[in-house]
Symmetry: C2
Subunit: 350 residues, 2 copies
């Protein structure tokens, strides 16, 4: 502590003095308010830059009744999917001068509506976030949606969600992507194609299956119910599905797994059963998460711009409570990409 040269962080008053204006004018410039001449505006901006002035969040928060904080509701599971989205959210928050605060909530699915409301009421009262961001597995939960709506807080959701609330939604075209993947398998000559579903309370599960069905029907192929397996979006459920599918009398030649982790499980199960991938079984996943390029062979899948989804979600959320009018689009769809790797191959007649 000795010999400290007193950098003494600048306050708004210092900026005002340097720019030769009043404190209030500085405040106006910083908050992009109208009613400031360009000349003064520039003077203030220069002074801010020169002094490296940064507003005090606590003072702003106290006076303005806003916290400049967004709470991300997280599930306990450590998934690459969630983490990448969170990464994007942090980046956007930093860029826009907000803080991202993580709230970990387990077992929200088991609570009653009133219990849910109580949980959120406490959370909101304590941290007073300006908004809340939801992703799987909470993004599509209707009770959570309604509870938050009653509490009157701004919400953004990521993923395919179909809710009668006014929340902002950010997603990719899951339906179209599922059609692409299915068509890819069909184009390779596959006819008996299995499908591994995800968690049943998530809309992604239904939408991806709907795309799969659509493509199959369009190609004049029927879906064998015995080839539609349950799953839970994790590695081991993919393994289970794989073992069951491969022990069928008439096993499929290709499998559509609703996400990459399950696809990895499927490939592992096939390899262990002595079925070579892709020669004996083609597999596609969904997400393009880290595992897709770490497994062998590498996985053919749909790339979701997860980081971008997180960024856009935060941007739209902040935009929504900065513009009073709420005119901007409430539903944003980002582009996805079909990624061809090595788990898919033409059907070989055996």
């Amino acid at each position: 502590m000795a010999g400290n040269s007193e950098p003494k962080t600048a306050k708004m008053k210092d900026v005002a003095d340097l720019a030769g204006v009043s404190i209030k004018t500085v405040s106006r410039v910083l908050n992009n308010e109208p009613h400031v001449q360009d000349k003064l505006r520039n003077k203030v901006k220069d002074a801010v830059a020169k002094l490296e002035y940064i507003p005090s969040q606590s003072a702003r928060s106290l006076r303005g009744n806003r916290s400049y904080t967004i709470t991300l509701l997280c599930h306990a599971a450590d998934s690459s999917y969630s983490n990448t989205i969170q990464f994007g959210a942090v980046v956007a928050c930093q860029r826009l001068g907000y803080q991202l605060s993580i709230s970990l909530q387990e077992g929200l699915d088991q609570l009653s509506f009133d219990q849910l409301k109580a949980v959120f009421e406490k959370l909101i009262h304590q941290h007073r976030p300006d908004g809340i961001m939801l992703m799987a597995p909470y993004a599509g939960n209707k009770m959570i949606a309604f509870a938050l709506q009653e509490l009157g807080i701004d919400v953004v959701r990521i993923g395919p969600v179909d809710l009668p609330t006014e929340d902002i939604l950010v997603e990719i075209d899951d339906y179209g992507a599922a059609i692409e993947l299915t068509q890819h398998l069909i184009d390779l000559g596959h006819r008996r194609i299995a499908f591994v579903r995800g968690l049943e309370n998530q809309r992604a599960t239904d939408v991806r299956f709907a795309g799969f069905s659509m493509a199959m029907n369009a190609a004049g192929l029927t879906i064998d119910d015995r080839l539609v397996m349950p799953g839970s979006f994790d590695f081991s459920s993919g393994m289970d599905a794989g073992q069951k599918l491969l022990s069928l009398e008439d096993p499929p030649s290709a499998v559509f797994a609703s996400n990459d982790d399950m696809a990895a499980g499927l490939v592992t199960a096939a390899t262990m059963a002595g079925v070579p991938v892709p020669e004996g079984l083609s597999v596609v996943g969904f997400d393009d998460s880290a595992v897709a390029t770490r497994m062998r062979p590498e996985l053919t899948t749909i790339h979701q711009p997860l980081r971008e989804l997180g960024e856009v979600a935060i941007e739209k959320l902040i935009e929504s409570f900065q513009n009073e009018r709420k005119t901007s689009a409430r539903r944003i769809v980002l582009d996805h990409n079909f990624i061809l790797r090595n788990t898919t191959a033409p059907l070989t007649i055996s």
Copy 2:
């Protein structure tokens, strides 16, 4: 918004009125300060409970110059290691009434000391965190340590760190764990054992290698320099190391990879080269991260209590700035476990 029954959150003044004391006395009770009669103290506590009073964080933060926020300095990489620690940190923060705020910093390694100081100065000035938590790859960085020390903020670090600062350290016995793993391979009869190092600026790399060396020497074995490979703690560097090791004239029969991701890369490389694991090559990892049980065969490794490391780190950090005296231990070592799975087998004489 219509018909709102005005829940009107209670302020400190309301509590004071209800308890029949001054505002300042309420403040004292809430902050566990001395100089309040037990009788009054209880009255205040009752009033707080009755009104469900929760202090305004922004006002506290503004006046008290504390934010009740801890900033976790994160690297961009999406690793299971970091995420699990973060998970524990969030849990502890929630329990203790703090907020965990994520700050994402890339390329901190390339900055000069002054640039680093500027980055942290801005970060601290903006969010005013009460403390900062560091983990790999920043935990062991000396410049970061000194920069933060000069700024006078409390810091907790996770992982093997050897720094001349007064920061709190939370870790496992990396050295001992490395000895255990090595001894396991030696006990299986292996003599030519390779080692894949991690990033060179992280102390874990040196400490784990030191444990390896110690165990090898103690067993009277020499370390072949050509079997010590560089690595960067990621999957592909493990693959690279594996390919190089297996193409040697006299390849090793076992490999100690400094973490699980590299071990997974090694196993993949071996499998692709037609070398069966563990029959043709034994592999051990370090961390027991998610990949350890998703690969085949499953990985023999050291289990680090990552979630607990995160929790304890936060607890100790908060404890440190609540107790002025700073008497509690500054270095905490948690238990690890040796996990025997299927990537290791007795040496077979070929």
